[in-house]
């Protein structure tokens, strides 16, 4: 296992691994998404307080967790790239940023749409919402810093430092509902959260589907990034020629 991970530091090996992994992430993702949506929208009962309006939770919570998880992966991969000079870790960090930004947009948008019927406002400057918005800005800053350099190694170095410094925001988002008195409801997962088993199953299915979606998008986008970085290698030229013929 450890040997296998070490071999992924080679661009050619990593490219072929990504190629092989795509169907292994795609089909489980589609299956879990369909089952998860059915469980969320049909099987789960209406909430005793929020009626059917609570069903937004099944996309809001997984995408909010993923927005933070992807950021952690991005910062750790960036750190691995900085410390051990592993170029493929830089690739993972770079391609994760737009995916994480996508999850953050989904979390913010579904939160606003959920807030309107329950709180009466699309947006409030509350600790949870503000810190999640800061996360979106961190992703955008990472992406613009990364694209500001011609040399991909220099770009990875500066943007990885930004990503690592931004890690401080993750505990702030997580504990914001505890540290501050906010309008945002408390934790849904764990004690005091949702208790209905069907709701829990639906949420778990959507969460695993979101992880698979992230993995799938990383493998798809990493292939392109490896080809760009290694465009002067013999194997990339052969690969591009065989793909375009």
């Amino acid at each position: 296992m450890w040997k296998w991970i070490q071999r992924q530091a080679s661009p050619k090996v990593f490219y072929h691994t990504c190629n092989r992994l795509v169907p292994w992430f795609f089909w489980p993702f589609i299956t879990l998404l369909i089952v998860g949506l059915y469980w969320s929208l049909v099987i789960s009962p209406a909430d005793y307080q929020q009626g059917d309006g609570y069903r937004i939770i099944f996309i809001h919570v997984p995408s909010a967790i993923l927005s933070m998880m992807v950021y952690a992966v991005m910062a750790i991969a960036g750190g691995i790239g900085l410390i051990w000079q592993i170029k493929m870790a830089e690739v993972v960090a770079k391609v994760s940023a737009p995916i994480g930004a996508g999850f953050t947009v989904i979390a913010l948008a579904t939160g606003a749409i959920w807030g309107k019927p329950m709180w009466g406002a699309w947006w409030v400057w509350d600790a949870r919402l503000t810190s999640e918005l800061v996360l979106l800005f961190l992703y955008l800053a990472y992406m613009s810093l990364n694209s500001a350099f011609d040399n991909p190694r220099t770009a990875a170095k500066s943007s990885s430092i930004l990503a690592i410094v931004g890690l401080i925001n993750l505990p702030i988002i997580h504990y914001s509902v505890k540290w501050w008195n906010t309008l945002h409801q408390g934790y849904s997962v764990g004690t005091g959260g949702i208790k209905d088993p069907d709701m829990q199953i639906a949420l778990a299915l959507m969460f695993v589907a979101s992880i698979l979606l992230y993995a799938l998008l990383v493998t798809i986008k990493a292939r392109t990034e490896v080809i760009i970085r290694e465009q002067n290698s013999r194997w990339v030229e052969e690969e591009v020629r065989s793909l375009m013929s």
């Binding site: 069903r55 937004i56 948008a109 749409i113 392109t224």
Partner: protein, 56 residues
Amino acid sequence: MTMIEFFSFLPYGKYAFYVWLAYGISALTIIALFVTARRNHFNTLSSLSNKYSRIK
């Protein structure tokens, strides 16, 4: 007639507008991620294959 009343024929009645809007926006965001990834990949392949054919 408000949007909320207009969309109340859908499942979840008075919440239908909000629930389906949330699911719709999420679906669009995810589809956009796939479309841009795919377009990027093909643009890269075609520009690189142009580059290689110029060299030879």
